[in-house]
Each structure stands twice: as structure tokens, then as C-alpha cells.
């Protein structure tokens, strides 16, 4: 066990600005500046005192360009997680915590901004990393198709019932329908709506796919001691791991556990690093680029197996407040909104503060799992005073 990260740092503030796709009333940099200032105000820390920034997924906003608007005194840490797209989200917390624990920086903002007018379509940006002649010749040009083939294998070969994807989505939409900030607020979602939506790439229908939003999100990470002196109750980072193992990665679809979400080594190290197990997790934010990959992510993290997945991935088991593991309590990427997943990290913090639109009473720990099936992925666990004391 290596408890290097365990409760050494904490999220002290969060901020998010979300708009419908291609409808942001401001530039990407403005939206990001707002989100960072919101996060600082949430924490009660002056924006000028932020001295570090970490992002992921090819964000184009270089921190140096934010300094004038924020009044930044010193920029001491300016980093991005390399590769993996949304699979880098929890890795960004590992990076920020490393800066704080090693004394490189004191107040680090983890951010992601995406306004289509500036950055273009996210799916296109993701594919720019991967698109090659093998794929385009086979008519494969989009993340939906890459993940659809993996989902097909998950269902048809490994025997995971397709209904698990629908159950997962129903939980997301249930939470989204109760969340005034969600794109699915007050939206009904049932089997007919799901089965009636058009096919995209079998087995995926439209509802199996996350759809992009414009916006920006920011979380402020500081030392645990510092966080205890700020405005909001600290949400501690208990552990964070990033990477991949042998037999997984950018292998032209020759990955060994092809139908998995790619978390084998990352999840194992996360449990080792925190000395926690899946049974210790009270609520989870499971990044679902596509429904089946959300299910595969739950399997990879050890909540269930190919054999018993249908017992675990049931609507009733995945919803707040009574489910065994409420997932995506704000609605997730599919029903809350999708700014490359940054909203999932923010919900991880809010649910441990008791601020979620779908509260999970007495929740002490929350898992955040990054973009599944990416060549590199990452996961993190957060905890509140209920577990830290």
C-alpha cells in the first residue's frame, strides 16, 4: 500500500458554466475564466492566488493566457495529461495533487473548457488522435463506432445482457430528470423512448451516446490543511491512478481484454493505493462516453463481473438515495451534459458535500472513473469528513 495521496489534498471549490452545443454566449476563454472565478468564490480564495493549472483531453487553453484575467501572481504548475481524452480526467487530479504534495504549487485548478466555435467538435478532436487508414477504409471514423464494436463483443461474446446498458441509462436519466441543471431536466425516459431512438452504429442507438455541450468547468485543489480553513467543507482526494497495462492501448483494436473499459491496472492500483475496496464506495461518477462502456467500467472496477453484471446493473440499484451504488447522480454525460466529463468530477465533489440534486445521505466516498475504452484511462476516489474524521 502507498497512501501518498490519501487525504493530503482536497477540493475546496467548484465552478461550471454549461450551455447547449454551439450556443455559448461567450468565448471558450471567457467561459473558462468564469468557471475558475466561480470555483475560487465557492472556496473563498482569491483567483490571483491560484498558482497551478492542470487539464486533460487536448484542452487548448494555455494557463499563461488566463493570467491577466485572473490576476495570477505566479504560475508555478502548468500541465496536461497526455493522451486518453476523457480517460485523463482523474489523472489530472493525480497531477495536481503531486504538485501540491511536493511543494511545487499551493492552489491548483483542474479544468476543461469546450466551446465548439473555438475547439470544433469534440468527437473530431478525439478522432484526430486515432484516425488511420485501417479505420477509414473500414468506414470507422467516430468514437461511437469504435465503442460499438467493443460493446458488441461485450454483449454477444461475453454474454453481458444488452439490458444492462439500458438500465445504466435509465439511472442517468432518472437523476438528470430531477436535476434543474441537466439537459434532461423533467424529461421522461423509458424503454419505448430508448428502443424507439434511431440506430447509430449497432448495438448503439442515439440514446446510448453522450452528446456534447459547450461550457467550462473548474475545480480548485489545495492542501487538506488549507482546505479546512476555506469556506466549504473539504472533499479530500483519497487516491488517483492513471495509465494502462500491457496488452491495452493504441493497438489497432488488438487489445487483449478488448471488450473491457481498459481499467485493469488502473483500478487495481487505485484500490491498493487507498486500501479501499468496491464495497467501501458509496456513490460513483462513471464517465459514460457510451452506455456499454459505462457498464464495462463498473465491471473493470470490480463492482460486478461478466457473470453477475445483470444483478448489479439494475435501475433500482443505481439510483439515489436507496440504491446500493448510485451512479451519475447529476445525470452523467448522457443526461446532465457533456463538457468532456468535467461535470462528473464536479458532481463527485457536490455529492460528498450534500449539494447534489439527487442526494445520497451519509455518503462518505465517491469514485470518479475517466473515459472508458480510451488507450489510457484514470480513476480517483474522493472522501469527506465522514471517512477522514
Amino acid at each position: 500500500m502507498n497512501k501518498t495521496f490519501y487525504a493530503k489534498t482536497a477540493v475546496a471549490g467548484v465552478g461550471i458554466r454549461q450551455f447547449r452545443r454551439a450556443s455559448a454566449p461567450m468565448s471558450e476563454q471567457q467561459a473558462l475564466t468564469h468557471a475558475i472565478v466561480d470555483a475560487c468564490e465557492d472556496a473563498g480564495l482569491a483567483p490571483a492566488d491560484v498558482d497551478g493549472f492542470v487539464t486533460y483531453g487536448d484542452d487548448k487553453n494555455e494557463p499563461a493566457r488566463l493570467m491577466s484575467a485572473l490576476g495570477t501572481k505566479e504560475l508555478n504548475w502548468s500541465m496536461a495529461v497526455l493522451g486518453g481524452g476523457g480517460g485523463g480526467i482523474a489523472g489530472a487530479f493525480a497531477d495536481a495533487a503531486a504538485a501540491i504534495i511536493s511543494g511545487q504549487a499551493k492552489a491548483v485548478v483542474i479544468f476543461r473548457a469546450l466551446v465548439q466555435d473555438m475547439s470544433g467538435r469534440l468527437s473530431a478532436a478525439v478522432m484526430a488522435h486515432h484516425l488511420n487508414r485501417h479505420m477509414v477504409a473500414a468506414g470507422i471514423v467516430a468514437p461511437a463506432q469504435v465503442c460499438a464494436m467493443r460493446a458488441q463483443r461485450l454483449f454477444e461474446y461475453h454474454g453481458v445482457p444488452e439490458s444492462t446498458a439500458e438500465e445504466f441509462l435509465k439511472a442517468c436519466y432518472y437523476h438528470g430528470s430531477h436535476n434543474p441543471d441537466a439537459i434532461a431536466y423533467q424529461t421522461a425516459f423509458d424503454h419505448d423512448a430508448y428502443a424507439g431512438s434511431r440506430l447509430i452504429a449497432e448495438p448503439f442507438r442515439l440514446f446510448d451516446c453522450s452528446r456534447e455541450n459547450d461550457g467550462a468547468g473548474a475545480l480548485l485543489l489545495v492542501s487538506a490543511e488549507h482546505a479546512r480553513n476555506l469556506a466549504k467543507p473539504p472533499v479530500y482526494l483519497l487516491g488517483a491512478t492513471q495509465g494502462t497495462g500491457k496488452g491495452w492501448g493504441d493497438l489497432l483494436d488488438n487489445d487483449e481484454d478488448y471488450a473491457s473499459a481498459g481499467f485493469a491496472t488502473v483500478a487495481r492500483r487505485l484500490w491498493e493505493q487507498t486500501d479501499l475496496t468496491p464495497a467501501d464506495i458509496d456513490v460513483a461518477q462513471i464517465y459514460e462516453n457510451f452506455s456499454a462502456q459505462g457498464v464495462a467500467s463498473l465491471i473493470d472496477h470490480g463492482f460486478c463481473t461478466y457473470e453477475n453484471v445483470a444483478e448489479f446493473v439494475r435501475f433500482e440499484n443505481l439510483i439515489a438515495p436507496g440504491g446500493g451504488l448510485p451512479v451519475n447522480t447529476h445525470g452523467g454525460n448522457t443526461a446532465q451534459g457533456f463538457i468532456h466529463g468535467i461535470g462528473m468530477a464536479i458532481e463527485a465533489v457536490r455529492c460528498l458535500r450534500g449539494e447534489s440534486a439527487n442526494p445520497v445521505p451519509d455518503a462518505r466516498t465517491c469514485l470518479l472513473a475517466g473515459g472508458p475504452a480510451a488507450p489510457t484511462v484514470s480513476s480517483a476516489i474522493f472522501g469527506n469528513s465522514g471517512i477522514i474524521g
Partner: protein, 139 residues
């Protein structure tokens, strides 16, 4: 577009000649796909290319119904395959499946046989393996 490294040139030239060729480590003989500059298993640099038959099994598949930008040359819906190539220790290649209708079931594990065709992408005709169910068999 990434991935078309110099190391892959023999693959594309063999497809252009109507055959399939895949690399093996010239040190330990292990099939290498994707091709790599160095064998991570034995440390040897360099590979030998070996012709392999255009036959295999369906490892996974998807039938695309949505018109994604860049796929205009393929009539909807079309079936993309991940094919496990016979005699290569389970190495997989992406390709297309012909001869199945919109409603036909495609089955993982089904034996397939291929021919070389091409897919128009932008200004380029990119070689591709077009598979069909072996012996006209059922999916």
C-alpha cells in the same frame, strides 16, 4: 491521419498487389501487429513480412446507420468488422463485410474469406479487406 508509419509500408503495398502480408519478429518469430520498430518481447529490431491467407473469423462487428462525415463512399447501412486472421496467433484487422442484408444477423466467430478492395476517403482510395461469409454460409 496518423498511423501510416514507414514501418507499415509493406502492409499497404501487399494489399495494393491483392494479397495480405503481416509482420513477424525476425528474432523470436512472434506476430507483430500493430507493427513495431522493436520487439518488446525479445528486444530484436526488425520484422519479416509473411503472406497470409485472406481467411479468418469475425471477432466483432458493427453495422453503421448514421452518416458520419468521411464515410460518404459507403452506402448505408454498412458492416465494419474486426477480423481475426487465421494462422496469425489471433491478430485482428479492420475491414468491411459484404453480402449481408440490413436485417441479417452477423455472428461473432463466423468464418469469413476476404478479397482486397478499396474505400474512397477524401481524395484517396484506401485499400481495404472486404470479407464475406465463408462457403456462402450463414452468419
Amino acid at each position: 491521419m496518423i498511423g501510416h508509419t514507414g514501418l507499415e509500408t509493406p502492409y499497404w503495398s501487399s494489399l495494393a498487389e491483392g494479397k495480405l502480408s503481416l509482420p513477424r519478429c525476425s528474432g523470436c518469430g512472434q506476430w507483430q501487429w500493430p507493427v513495431a520498430a522493436r520487439c518488446g518481447e525479445c528486444g530484436h529490431w526488425g520484422s519479416e513480412w509473411q503472406d497470409v491467407p485472406l481467411s479468418g473469423h469475425i471477432f466483432s462487428w458493427t453495422r453503421t446507420w448514421h452518416r458520419f462525415g468521411g464515410t460518404e463512399a459507403l452506402p448505408l447501412p454498412y458492416v465494419s468488422l474486426l477480423a481475426e486472421i487465421d494462422g496469425t496467433d489471433g491478430k485482428r484487422l479492420m475491414g468491411l463485410l459484404e453480402g449481408v442484408g440490413e436485417e441479417d444477423r452477423v455472428r461473432i466467430g463466423a468464418p469469413i474469406t476476404g478479397r482486397i478492395g478499396s474505400t474512397r476517403f477524401g481524395e484517396e482510395d484506401v485499400p481495404v479487406i472486404i470479407w464475406r461469409l465463408r462457403d456462402g454460409g450463414e452468419a
